[in-house]
């Protein structure tokens, strides 16, 4: 391959990558959350970040969104180094990113309609009638047009997440980040959310980053899966490939085995010495 063709191929590859994470290090106090993580999130697909609870999946989304600053390494979104941007530039970038929080994070003093209208009122000068049409269309997409007058306290967990999804899509972003969207959902709500994530991604030509530890649901819709644990990427690839992985760790996680490289017991002195008082 000539040098010119190599450069062209590399440019094409980076154009295909929306989020590029390189050598990411992040700690909270003494605890290392990420220890040299490299992740590429391709445009147009659903990329899942999976791993056990407490591995820093939500932290990763906050780092991508610029809400946290890494100790070392870079995160580029659409070619922009997130942590080198000024506050104004970061906010401009965030207008092209949506995020669905685990709790929904709806503004509790506004009803469903006003919650979805909020980013439009903040960042556009649309007329009231145009704004109304847009909000109703967004709510229609998540099946909650009829719930527009309800307050957040009147919504179930699944409905709140669907409203939050409509709000995240309000400005037609290029990507949406989902923080544990399936946690604590009944089977019907879960099915609705799984379908919505995939459908909206394809219909609106979004890029979706999905953080979850619900293996079956996530693998059903993800194009690419990264499994992280202990501050590192353990394995990555299409869901099918990970299901058949030879790695003991990946197998334990993907098949939900109670014991394996991640032990069932939290480290402790042996039971006998603990019970009969010979432990330190």
């Amino acid at each position: 391959m000539t040098e010119e063709r190599r450069v062209r191929a590399s440019t094409a590859a980076s154009a295909q990558t929306l989020v590029k994470i390189r050598d990411l290090h992040f700690s909270r106090g003494e605890r290392k959350i990420f220890d040299g993580v490299d992740i590429d999130i391709p445009r147009g697909g659903v990329t899942a970040i999976m791993g056990p609870s407490g591995t820093g999946k939500t932290t990763l989304l906050k780092l991508i969104g610029g809400q946290l600053r890494p100790d070392r390494g870079t995160i580029e979104v659409d070619g922009l180094d997130v942590h080198a941007l000024s506050r104004r530039e970061l906010y401009r970038l965030r207008m092209r990113m949506g995020m669905l929080f685990q709790s929904g994070a709806l503004l509790t003093d506004l009803d469903v309609f006003e919650n979805v209208a909020y980013p439009l009122r903040e960042h556009t000068r649309l007329s009231e009638s145009m704004l109304r049409k847009l909000v109703l269309l967004k709510l229609e997409a998540v099946g909650l047009r009829g719930a527009r007058h309800l307050m957040p306290a009147e919504l179930s967990g699944g409905m709140a997440r669907r409203v939050a999804l409509a709000r995240a899509m309000a400005l037609d972003p290029m990507m949406i980040m989902y923080d544990e969207p399936f946690t604590g959902q009944d089977p019907i709500s879960m099915g609705v959310l799984v379908k919505l994530v995939r459908q909206l991604n394809d219909a609106a030509r979004l890029t979706s980053v999905l953080v979850s530890h619900d293996v079956a649901e996530t693998c059903a819709i993800a194009d690419l899966v990264y499994v992280i644990s202990g501050g590192k990427v353990i394995e990555s690839g299409p869901p099918q490939q990970l299901q058949e992985s030879g790695s003991e760790w990946t197998r334990q996680f993907m098949h939900g085995l109670p014991d394996g490289p991640v032990p069932f017991h939290y480290p402790a002195p042996d039971l006998e010495s603990d019970l009969f008082g010979r432990a330190a």
Binding site: K62, G65, Q67, R87, Y91, R92, R94, M95, M97, G98, M99, F101, Q102, S103, A105, L106, L107, T108, Y118, P119, E122, H123, A164, R167
Partner: protein
């Protein structure tokens, strides 16, 4: 001994770090004031929630404080046949000290704690993070209007407290204890000084409004996003604000009435 010194040092470092963080937050809050020119509705909403909803407790307290002041003042002044000075005593006490100070203490308990709890809960339920990810600065949108509303509401509430206190005092002094009505008002009009009494009282309540609201919004914004964290932040708001008001009152009084 070394350990005690180290702990003391660590405590001071933590306190200075908190103060630095609070000052940086204050700068960001003040930077956002232009937002309120473009969206005055945000300020009006907060004036209602911080100011109007605090009127009842301030009004009732002012009335009773004035009544008690009049009662106590009458018993002392009557020993020197100086009941005619009762109106002046009540008005000066209220305008110079009790109006600004008691209003600020009540404000910290009623509105300050509510501000901290509201902001802390918004943080705990990820509403502030949600705003950030919608490219909306939560400091400008949530903190600045609340801060300015508290700052502006305090002197108005203190004025209400003092006015109702004077009326309460009049009711007891003139209505129940028989002090001459004309003397009550004329003495007050003649002896209360615009600058010494009224102006200084307003300055005090502006300072208290600034400090109490700053503490309340900082504690809310800086709280741990858990129920225990919000509860501790609310308690800190009331304790820190009360101590700050009492300490500042001494300093301001020493400077104003040399």
């Amino acid at each position: 001994m070394t350990e005690m010194l180290a702990r003391l040092g660590a405590g001071w470092i933590l306190a200075v770090r908190h103060l630095g963080r609070a000052l940086l937050l204050l700068l960001r809050i003040l930077e956002g004031l232009d937002e309120l020119v473009r969206r005055p509705r945000l300020l009006v909403e907060q004036l209602f929630s911080v100011g109007v909803l605090t009127v009842l407790i301030i009004g009732v307290s002012g009335l009773f404080v004035g009544m008690v002041l009049s009662l106590q003042g009458y018993y002392i002044l009557s020993q020197f046949d100086a009941e005619s000075a009762l109106g002046v005593m009540v008005a000066a006490s209220l305008l110079r000290e009790l109006g600004p100070v008691v209003t600020a203490l009540l404000f910290a308990g009623r509105a300050g704690s509510a501000l901290t709890a509201e902001i802390g809960l918004m943080k705990a339920t990820e509403q502030l993070s949600g705003l950030e990810m919608m490219a909306v600065d939560p400091v400008r949108r949530v903190l600045t209007p609340r801060f300015l509303a508290g700052f502006l509401a305090m002197p108005l509430l203190a004025a209400l407290f003092s006015a109702l206190g004077v009326l309460g005092g009049w009711f007891v002094g003139v209505g129940l204890l028989g002090v001459d009505d004309g003397t009550w008002w004329v003495q007050m009009q003649a002896r209360i000084d615009w600058h010494e009494d009224l102006y200084n009282g307003v300055v005090k309540s502006l300072v208290f409004g600034f400090v109490c609201t700053w503490i309340a919004v900082f504690q809310g914004y800086n709280s741990l996003p858990t129920s225990a964290g919000v509860s501790r932040a609310t308690t800190r708001t009331v304790v820190h604000s009360s101590l700050a008001v009492l300490g500042l009152d001494f300093v301001l009084t020493a400077l104003m009435f040399k």
